[in-house]
Amino acid sequence: MSTLDPITLSVIQSGLQQVCDEMDLSFSRAAFSPVIAEANDRSDGIYSAEDGSLIAQGSQGLPVFVGTMQYSTRTLIEWIADGRAVAPKPGDIYIVNDPYLGGTHLMDVRFAMPFYRDGRIFCWLSNTGHWPDTGGAVPGGFSASATAVEQEGLRLPPVRLFKEGVLDPEIYGIICSNIRVSDQRIGDVKAQAAALYVGQSRLTRLLDRYGDDTVREAIAELRVRAAEQMRASIREIPPGTYTSVAYVDSDGVVNEPLEIRLSIQALGDRLIFDFAGSSPPCAGPMNSVLATTMSSVYLATRHIFPDVPISAGAFEPLEVIRPEGTFLDAQYPRPVSGCAAEVSQRIAEAVFVALAEALPDRVTAAPAGSSGNFALGGSVPEEGRSFVMYQISGGGYGGWAGGDGISNGCSTIGISKAPPVEIMEQQFPVLYHRYALHEGSGGAGRQRGGFGLDYEVELRKGTARASFVMDHGRFGPQGVLGGADGQVNRVVVTQGGVETVPEHLSKAQDIPLAAGDRVRVATPGGGGYGDPMTREAALVAEDVRLGRYTPEQARALFGVVVSADGVVDAAATEAARNIG
């Protein structure tokens, strides 16, 4: 039992959190890549010197990195111990993006810096930033038809990019020779390092203030307490086994759905997550590495229990049985670009759906669960320029006990904003014809799902190739407790006036576009919560009046007979609902 008073403990807890929040902030403000600067696709944290376990992580860090960085730091510590990585000196910063060493996909580049006190490593400061490109077959790294990781980009084992505070020009040169738009990377590299320096000076101040031993003791105690808090939360779940199945449309190469089978055993104060029976490793890039699979379980659990602080202790009561032999435990050289953006969200959906009945007041129906990556790379010869554009998009969230789902929410695993249409049109030769609510997409329920986004964009000049890595094109986000699924994602490409739907519905690569061609994407709506026949008729009527559903949909989905201007026919509604 700790001798620390609970007050000092709380103060140190918020102090550690503050160090991480300041790292997050510095990283975003200094970054060049909009993926980091605007979309906050990055995370910073403090990790144990012994085993890399998570001590604290920035509250505005990308949720999917919540679990991964501790695995990557642990691997680094092991590699240093057995000589596979060079031992550090003060001022060194390691760079690593190998997905199989505790990562996500190649674009998520991790930096790790040992933090010294009195000549010994006290802890590690580490961060992850999503680089806009790390080489590979397609700009941006999301190759929908890659079949090996080498096609996805440059893979770096842990090497010291900064040696005693100085950037190694040789390693940096190798990196720059293998990635696109490399001239701006120096800014992001320095931003990523600057965040660690800021963390270093803030953590030094904290240790000076409270003393190394006190902080060390507090860290240990906080871990114990986070575990206790998670156990207390888990006790809300009646003991038993809860199962669910969630689907990924396809792997981008073979047009077959991938199945995530989840069984959660609730044993009082711990949960065992078993993915046995899930699909085997796939040919295309929808494989998930183990760290991402674990992290997805953690972030889904944290969405359910948002009050539990992020630290390794919080994960202790969550046991994930290694899903060997499935696509959720990808081994080299399986391609993995879709793991962080898509598969992780489907794992989270499986967790939500499995626990909905056990925790009806906490869990929501499934959210859209796709990052909606749409990349357009091309050139405008008459202007002598080439470009790579990314459009990410949101979708509807699931209904929940307290209300309807949010419309156009960001991905489950992210917290990023989408770029404004005006900025896209300033930077790229495109014209948007609509940016609208995906009408009718919210899954019906007592609390309905939120609505997706419906956008259409035209290439104005030059030629380009379009690639998509999205999901939920085949199956909509699942409803729970009697709620209906949300509408599926739809992609329609118009080339020379002819409309086509990609074979894999939500995934495609290198579709050629000429000036005047268009792409229309309608993203998924959230799943419904509870029986739609019990939804208040007035709420259905309001949605009809606002054009979110048609009167026909109101009748079919909710059993509400209502005119286009929102007047309910109460008698007809009662009759319709009684028949079911």
Binding site: I7, S10, G15, R29, A30, Y197, A232, V421
Partner: protein, 687 residues
Amino acid sequence: MTSKSASSGIVAGIDVGGTFTDLVLFESRASTVRLAKVPTTLEDQSVGVVGALDAAGADVAALDLIVHGTTTTTNAVLERRLCKTGLITTMGFRDVLELGRRTRPNAYGMKGDFRPLIPRDLRMEVRERMDASGAELVALDEEALRAAVQALVDTGCEALVIHFLHAYANPAHELRAAEIAAEIWPNGNITMGHALLSESREYERGVTAAVNASVQPLLRRYVERLADKLAQRGYAHDLLVMNGNGGMVSARIVAREAAKTVMSGPASGVMAAAYTGRRAGILDLLTYDMGGTSTDVAMIRGAEPAVSHEIEIEYAMPIHVPMVDVRTVGAGGGSIAKVNAAGLLQVGPDSAGSTPGPICYGRGGTQPTISDANLLLGRMDPAKFTTAEAPVTLEEIRGIFAKELGAPLGLDAEAAAEAVLRIATAKMADAVRMVSVSLGEDPRDFALFAFGGAGPLHASAIARELGVPHVLVPARPGITNALGCVVADLRHDFVNTVNRPLDAVEIETVHALLADQIAAGCAAIAAEAVEVSDIRILPSVDMQFIGQTHLLRVPLESETPSIEDLRALFAAAYYRRFQVDLPEIRPALVNVNCSVIGRRPEIDLGLLIDAAARRETLDAALTGHRRVWFDGWHDTPVYWRDHLPMNATLTGPAIIEQMDTTIVLEPGARAGQDKDGNILITLGATA
């Protein structure tokens, strides 16, 4: 044109807060000050305003100037009591206001609620289109526009927003549409998207315009009503209204840009802080205004409050007009303390608010709060709370602390209360630090300016936690916002976008832009009905390295900088903020800005505390002793602030009480006063 009021005459500043309406009235010729505090009348704030003038015994007909801070628009926005407003926008884009930027309210938890400011059935689309360069792609369909305007009139909309894509690049369609709409619209409440904010980002610009439109009729009615009431009492001059940028504007035109008055209350407090600090010779301040439910923090550098153009006043509600950058932290006197599932003490974010409020309010509150902890530890005077509706005894509060917090933590009631204050202090210190860090500054280079009813109670502890060496407590912390109305400057902010690599910028263009901005600002100040003593010009540029999305504001020392000046100033500012140099990448000049500020004639803040009330000796200012907890009970002297001799110096522990607040002087801290009656606290070594 209205004649210029001599600010050297009688000036009244009146601020309407959530609970109280405060007034400060300076009569320079007679060297007198009058103060009043009356309850805010929420239904019609003008009743409270006139009430405050009456309470101060003011002869309204004799007033030379009334400056007013109002929460009419703030409350309307936060409580969504908005006027029925319609939107006409580009075909295909009516849902922009509902879709937002693809976010969620919290990083964790997939729940929440979001209601667009304008409902979907009142958002109409018409054919028209500009591209990003401002070239017309589709002509404005004027017939469809007329029909849309008429349809919105028919539904009973009071205000109209016309918001077209890329109107910042070419406003021609918005201007034409507004012209047509004005023929049909029954009142003047038409807001064009580009009028308040001529920058790209359709969501932010649209929300800013929608906020403006949907509070415009309310504000217009309110200021007309108030001006009428004042006129009935013989007030013959222009009524001025505070804006969120810390400047003020005539009531005759304030409604045109109503969105600028949102957050004007906190801004005026920060203006008062800057003014007070400048007179005291303390130019760099972090302001700390703690109230019942929240705490506002802002930064002042070189006596200038930091101003932001990107404030988001609640989830997904950005208002992108220049406003004093005040950050609100969800911790106030009413923040609730509890022991969480991990057995850790937690303070906030839940608040008891003002109803039921802390236990000590006697309105049925049963959960321990920061205010209750202050009371239990003797920092606030228990006697003050005997006036509560249903008085609660200290014993009852002690019992609740022992049961709710002490028992699970293994502490007695006092130790639990102390723990609550320690956590609250750490949390608020973190918030202050985060504000300064996000603005690129180290809090230790600043003094803490404590105001609001609860600010001076906690300021010393927070300063100590931050390593801030000095705390300044102004003469009247509880009426700081009203004081801000009296001392606020006339202020006009200008932005012109250049957005070119620095190498490609013709410096003459920059000089010309600045010269135009300065001329426009001076002309605007000359047209106001207020005398100014001098005009200050604050030129600055926004720069970035090419490829970055965030901007760094770089103040300029001259209106005619050279390219090399810009390069060097930016590099230095960048290094200060991020501790890295980037010689590899070329910088770009994005915006050229200028604030033109008309400073009002000096007001003697020394008048705020009546010199005649001051006693000869410190002992004579002593009102008694009481037990106060600082790491154990201390028998602590209690002074009445208005009685303190000017040259008095005190060493803590001590309590200084006054009408509107209580100042806690911790053991070892020293306090003295300056000529304006500010108390300056110097903290001892870190505990």
